[in-house]
């Protein structure tokens, strides 16, 4: 059997590094390059500050400024493809102070999906929930939500970088030196664990069925105006629910107390 020369090994290492750069670093760098428009964020922040100043003296003018701020953050969010927990948090603050309670709660929850352990988000979400006129309560967090909170000590991005790094280490070890096979497999196992946490986070975000009422709305026993009301009183803006089923113009929702009913799809906003 032909002996592997040091030259062959060096060529292999160079090839591996080149592949790592092409295959991992470039996509990661291009993906995580911030799409957030700093000018839009700064303008929204200034409008928010103006609104805050005006809120003590002229609530009407303050509301206009908060609306302007919310619109600015919405533009920045659209450019960032809806990602960014901090951006969503600021957007929610502007919405809440502009009077859009339902949309604000939905936005806080979307921010919390991206940063489950951020106490600022939880605090302001509680504040917003406290403003809901008659809330049937908030659904108990799922097991997946509890579990996801465990590994949120590091951001999703940091965990994925570590996953990729471990994968390349394992790959290099297995390719270059067959005697270190156990180390390579260990690196792969660690990468698998970390990668699973990231995948679960992504799955939790993508499978969210949460929704919030953005207007006073009634829920009915069927998907039509002719069906009788499930609850006699209309539910207030900010009521949180889970989406069960969607049909043309109507969405079946379940409230925190287990009550199910159909609501006009224009009256709620999905959390995602």
């Amino acid at each position: 059997m032909m002996q592997r020369t040091p030259l062959v090994r060096v060529i292999k290492i160079i090839c591996l590094i080149a592949l790592a750069v092409v295959g991992a670093v470039i996509p990661v760098a291009s993906s995580w390059k911030s799409n957030v428009n700093p000018e839009a964020v700064a303008a929204a922040e200034i409008a928010y500050a103006r609104g805050t100043e005006l809120s003590a003296s002229d609530s009407l003018a303050a509301a206009v400024k908060f609306r302007e701020s919310a619109d600015g953050f919405a533009v920045a969010l659209a450019e960032a493809h809806g990602e960014g927990a901090a951006l969503r948090f600021n957007h929610a603050n502007s919405l809440l102070r502009a009077g859009d309670l339902g949309e604000a709660i939905a936005e806080y929850r979307a921010a919390a999906l991206r940063a489950p352990n951020d106490t600022r988000i939880q605090t302001n979400l509680s504040e917003a929930r406290g403003q809901v006129a008659r809330s049937p309560g908030v659904a108990t967090p799922t097991i997946l939500q509890y579990i996801c909170g465990v590994w949120d000590f590091a951001t999703e991005q940091a965990r994925w970088i570590a996953t990729i790094a471990l994968l390349w280490i394992g790959c290099a070890v297995l390719t270059l030196n067959t005697h270190w096979r156990s180390y390579g497999l260990t690196a792969f196992a660690c990468a698998l664990l970390l990668g699973t946490t990231v995948m679960l986070d992504v799955a939790r975000r993508n499978s969210s069925a949460a929704a919030v009422f953005i207007d006073l709305a009634v829920i009915r026993k069927g998907n039509g105006e002719g069906f009788e009301l499930t609850i006699a009183q209309p539910l207030p803006e900010g009521t949180e629910c889970e989406v069960i089923e969607s049909r043309l113009g109507w969405i079946q929702v379940e409230l925190a107390d287990g009550t199910r009913g159909w609501v006009d799809d224009q009256a709620i906003i999905r959390v995602n």
């Binding site: 964020v41 994925w160 790959c171 990231v198």
Partner: protein
């Protein structure tokens, strides 16, 4: 009404098209102040004007809203006839005693006037006397604005006993005689409605008033006065049909069934007992008093107590009412910004926080932020309230809470530099707006800490693929080596398969020969046929004569298998030797 006398007066209609007007009155006798229903029916008139009726002194005539229309179809001896009827209701209320002549109701149909006959109505006074008493009481009877109490509507109905039958009506029967629809319940309407919707009713309890036994029904509602004076309860008038006679009757299913043989309507307006709502005194009223009335204790918790400058500290204030009469719904937290020591050292919201009620406590939560690292404690929080028991203003105060504040970068928002706003790395915004924690910095906003499936796929597949490559290569190599070994030992395997066979079985020889050819031509041995052998050997460029010999030998094996006979073992061995050389040459040429 069971005892009602139904009176019917046919109209003096003179219609040529059988158009008629009739009037029906529920009773010839009425009680002053109590309504009597009158129904006017117009037959076979598609369009009409009216009905009209002249006013009567001392009698209030009110047309009830809506009309009842009915159509009747009849087929008699094949002839179809149709009649249409319109019913209109009236309510007559006598305002004095005496005999009233109810004038004719008239309608105009197609230019003709139809009218009913006048009829008499006798109005007498229905003496309520001591049969029904309604009163409103308050618990407590003296209270302050800001306290919570209870208003009770007590309806006392004199217990009825039919001496002739020896029967006393129970409280359930008496409640059923109270007109829930005809009575005015004022502020107690929602409370009663709620009870009825839950299939409940006020329980009647026996009470002696004077020397008489009454059944008292009580309807309660919470009372949260917002202004001093007498509580406003609206129009509360109770109406009922008080029994005058009971009877036993037989019907198809129930023998000796007890029924109401006579009753008379009575009504009474509820009187409000002495209830005083006071306003806390203005003298000695502290500026920090925000309307709280009761006897309160205050408790404050700060969390966390070890923070950096600008970090949020959640302050939870719990106000507990010891008096059990304080109105907690409208209770407001002390405004922290107005308390000494807070505005200088902390950034605090100006607005009072909204609280949640927990038993007899109300819990408020606010976020504040230390303005500098020199802050060492959370100052005492004072809460001023008016105590009705002592009749004076009192203050409850918490103890100061020790906190540790570490230095931190300070945020600056250069709002004048429009769009030029920048944030330093690591900077934290520290403003608190209302009860909300402030916005994240622009630097934080620029961070995207999430990944998506596209990124996961694009970054993970390549290293996984490369890591899997050695395993794939090794597998391919192992497979190739096994095939080469099989080729090398093909002849040996062939000989082994034929060894120990004394009488050569054609099928065994044929199978061994095919196995040999498949091994030498790198083909799968399973399902390898004579045709496959011919094709593979052709592909290996084996000499045509040898190819023909091999094919002939296999054909002979097939024939012998069915027709019987023997095959030549030596011949096949010779063929194998020749094929060994021929395929080796081919392999060498290919190499």
């Amino acid at each position: 009404m069971l005892f009602a006398v139904v009176m019917s007066m046919l109209a003096t209609s003179a219609s040529t098209h059988a158009q008629t007007i009739t009037v029906q009155c529920a009773s010839q006798q009425a009680y002053v102040g109590e309504p009597v229903r009158v129904s006017v029916s117009i037959e076979d008139a598609t369009a009409f004007e009216g009905p009209f009726i002249d006013a009567v002194d001392g009698l209030e005539i009110t047309r009830l809203p809506g009309e009842q229309t009915s159509t009747r179809l009849e087929f008699i001896n094949g002839r179809r006839s149709e009649s249409r009827s319109v019913g209109i209701g009236y309510e007559l209320i006598a305002r004095r005693t005496g005999q009233f002549t109810i004038p004719a109701f008239t309608v105009t149909v197609g230019g003709k006037t139809l009218s009913t006959k006048p009829f008499l109505l006798n109005a007498v006074v229905s003496e309520t006397g001591d049969l029904l008493i309604a009163s409103i009481t308050c618990e407590p009877s003296t209270m302050y604005v800001g306290q919570e109490g209870e208003l009770n509507l007590e309806i006392a109905v004199k217990r009825y006993r039919e001496e002739k039958l020896g029967i006393t009506l129970d409280e359930g029967s008496l409640w059923s005689l109270i007109g829930r629809e005809t009575s005015s319940w004022g502020a107690f309407g929602p409370a009663l409605q709620k009870m009825l919707s839950e299939n409940r009713r006020p329980r009647g309890e026996s009470r002696i008033i004077g020397d008489t036994e009454y059944i008292v029904f009580t309807i309660s509602k919470s009372f949260d006065p917002i202004a001093p004076g007498v509580p406003v309860v609206g129009d509360v008038r109770i109406r009922m049909d008080y029994p005058t006679k009971l009877a036993r009757g037989n019907d198809l299913f129930f023998e000796n069934r007890l029924s109401l043989a006579g009753s008379r309507p009575i009504s009474v307006e509820a009187t409000i007992a002495a209830v005083t709502v006071l306003s806390p005194p203005e003298g000695g009223r502290p500026a920090a008093w925000n309307g709280a009335v009761g006897s309160f204790t205050i408790e404050a918790i700060a969390k966390p107590v070890d923070v950096a400058v600008g970090d949020p500290i959640t302050v939870t204030i719990r106000l507990t009412d010891e008096s059990t009469t304080a109105g907690l719904a409208g209770l407001q937290a002390p405004v922290i910004a107005d308390l000494p020591g807070f505005l200088e050292n902390f950034r605090v919201p100006r607005e009072a926080a909204s609280g949640t009620i927990d038993g007899r406590s109300k819990v408020f939560t606010q976020s504040i932020r230390a303005a500098s690292d020199s802050v060492r404690e959370l100052p005492p929080i004072s809460f001023v309230f008016f105590n009705p028991s002592s009749g004076g203003y009192e203050t409850a105060t918490t103890q100061p809470i020790a906190i540790t504040v570490r230095p931190s970068a300070v945020a600056k928002l250069h709002s004048d530099e429009a769009l030029g706003i920048t944030t330093e790395p690591g900077e934290n915004f520290t403003k608190v707006e209302g009860g909300l924690l402030a916005n994240a910095s622009t630097a934080e906003c620029a961070e995207i800490n999430t990944v998506n499936m596209q990124l996961i796929a694009s970054t993970a597949l390549l290293p996984l693929g490369i890591a899997a490559l050695p395993f794939v290569i090794a597998r391919v190599r192992r497979s190739r080596e096994a095939r080469e070994l099989r080729t090398r030992v093909a002849r040996q395997t062939f000989l082994q398969e034929l060894s120990g066979i004394e009488t050569p079985d054609p099928s065994v020889v044929e199978r061994a020969f095919l196995h040999y050819i498949s091994a030498r031509t790198h083909s799968d041995r399973d399902g390898f046929t004579r045709k496959d052998a011919f094709d593979r050997l052709s592909e290996c460029s084996v000499d045509a004569s040898l190819l023909a010999n091999c094919d002939d030998f296999l054909r002979q094996c097939e024939r012998v298998r069915y027709a019987g006979g023997a095959v030549d073992i030596d011949a096949v061995r010779a063929l194998v030797d020749l094929l060994e050389v021929a395929t080796a040459k081919t392999k060498a040429a290919a190499a």
